[in-house]
Amino acid sequence: MQEARYDIPVVEKILSTNDQLAEENARRFDRSGVTVVNIMAAPGGGKTSLILRTIEALRGRLRIGVIEGDVASQVDSQRIAAAHVPVVQINTGGQCHLDANMIRGALDRLPLEEIDLLLVENVGNLICPVAFKLGEHRRVAITSAPEGDDKPYKYPAIFHAVDAVVINKLDLLPHLDFDLAAFRDLVLALNPNVALFDVSCKTGQGIGEWVAWLMDEDV
């Protein structure tokens, strides 16, 4: 005999479990007085370099901690540790993004009460990290000029989701066809309130403006 069939409304966001964990992380950050920035970019975009520049620029002004997300290896966390700030490496073991639960696990290994600004380096990827909130206060994307000025057309969701876009490797601009104005126009067309920074982590260009934005307490 055929069983009766019923339609059951659900209307549940698929990643609601992650969202709940992210909210718990956010409450923990607020209790500890930590501002958290989620830094996303393609592999090789300059995430670790930007973090190292930021540590250097804010030394003596803010106490920084770092969470490094990579599929494998400790290479990045060793570079950060050499700059004498607390760092935790998360190896996702193949997963293409960090999620709120991984961050929660990492927090037990960080002296949160001694950190003002926690920089989270996400796994190098322009798609997956966008969907997973971590409990962060601000989201940042880095695009490096060699990647091309059409990046927003190809990966619109990340440019829509972030509070700032750092345009890195601008020291290479004379050698590239990257149209800086066209790139900026595209990002602003999607996200008019985004902060844009013209940066070279190689030369230090633009790092002052970037850290001034990070220091802004109106988060």
Partner: protein, 113 residues
């Protein structure tokens, strides 16, 4: 690319809801997925066939309702679907707009026996 984690969540949501209503099995799952959500239907289906094994959702049909991205023009108010390499408003020529659709990503309903 994050379909494994996403599909795992789908199976958990469906299993929970199905158990809550006392279903013997879930026959179909209606998903709403925006074109700018970064998710691939075939990839979700692939993981679903593996992850739903041993749950109420085993053998259920996945139905995808795809939602195209839609811009609301900030200059003239027109709504339009951005083309691949062209985000200009077809009415006034402004670039881009407020994204009003395309990031959807939820289980709308399930059909159970």
């Amino acid at each position: 690319m994050h379909e494994l984690a996403v599909t795992d969540s789908i199976v958990k949501i469906v299993q929970e809801k199905g158990a809550e209503v006392g279903a013997l099995r879930v026959t179909s799952i209606n998903l709403v997925v925006g074109d700018w959500s970064g998710l691939v239907d075939d990839c979700i289906q692939f993981y679903f066939d593996i992850l739903s094994e041993g749950t109420l959702a085993r053998g259920a049909t996945l139905c995808f309702q795809r939602i195209p991205a839609c811009f609301h023009c900030r200059s003239c108010g027109a709504e339009f679907t951005p083309r691949e390499y062209n985000w200009t408003c077809p009415r006034c020529g402004s670039l881009g707009g407020e994204l009003v659709a395309g990031r959807e990503f939820y289980v709308e309903s399930i059909e159970v026996e």
